[in-house]
């Protein structure tokens, strides 16, 4: 196994911490549209997109999954772990694939991440509840996920341009 550079460990630690704080901040914001559960900004994705561009896809996967587990343990809801995991995994897969094509900017990458996060959660809900009724939320979440994704992508884009990370 290749040893990780100290600097990289430090940067990744910072990124996990940032993702966790952003998750916490977001959890304190009351939902804008309470009638449709799942609409959210996805602030933590700023850290994930940043790491995806600065360090690479393996590091982004590490950051994202660590965040899910730590946030769930610290101030999340253990009953929702599967939803968070499915959302995170699907979102990561989509973002990594889209970035690999080299055809899109971090905005589209973040949009796909946001929409797939919602789609993953709905998929888990449909499986666990054995119902397709929850699919009705999908179009609404696709729209909200797109809007949130654009905002997050713009923010992440600024950070990617301005912050220098040498590892």
């Amino acid at each position: 196994m290749k040893t990780m550079k100290t600097k990289k460990v430090a940067v990744m630690g910072l990124a996990v911490a940032l993702a966790m704080i952003l998750s916490f901040v977001e959890s304190q914001i009351p939902p804008l549209f309470p009638m449709i559960p799942g609409i959210k900004m996805g602030l933590a994705n700023i850290a994930v997109v940043f790491v995806l561009y600065k360090l690479g896809w393996k590091e982004a996967v590490t950051i994202s999954l660590l965040r899910v587990f730590l946030v769930t343990l610290l101030f999340g809801n253990i009953g929702l772990l599967w939803y968070s995991l499915a959302g995170a995994v699907l979102s990561l897969a989509g973002m990594i694939a889209l970035k690999k094509t080299g055809l899109f900017s971090e905005i589209a990458v973040s949009v796909v991440g946001g929409v797939l996060h919602n789609a993953g959660q709905i998929a888990v809900a449909c499986i666990l509840f054995e119902t397709d009724k929850l699919l009705y939320y999908l179009p609404f979440l696709m729209i909200s996920g797109t809007l949130a994704g654009v905002a997050i992508g713009l923010l992440a884009g600024i950070l990617i341009k301005r912050i220098r990370v040498e590892v």
Partner: protein, 131 residues
Amino acid sequence: MKEADNKKKRLLDLMLIGGVLILAAVLLLVFVLNRRGEANPSGGACAVVRIDGEEAARYPMSKNGNFPLNGGTNTLVIENGYAWMTDSECPDKICEHMGKIHMNGQLIVCLPNGVIVTVEGGEDSGVDIFG
């Protein structure tokens, strides 16, 4: 793969975002059309409670009352033809904020406790599928 230049990326970004939004609109249209085609059985509307996918209970919307669900993790209130959730044990209380439902297909979901409440056999909501 070769990186596209920034201008081209912006254009492809916009196309992708547009594509996602169009897909959302199409799905919405399909759901609305499906909903309209559904038969509306006569007889009073019911609040149907499903726990982990299994139908657990059915309460007529015409009868007022408080009903503990799922061994008391949530309480369903029915009053004057509207149903809503109170007293969820979970920390998020998302289901309590989902509002009052009364039209066909509207739902209240409590993910952590695995509870879904839907209205069946009620009034159709017309265009907006969430009423």
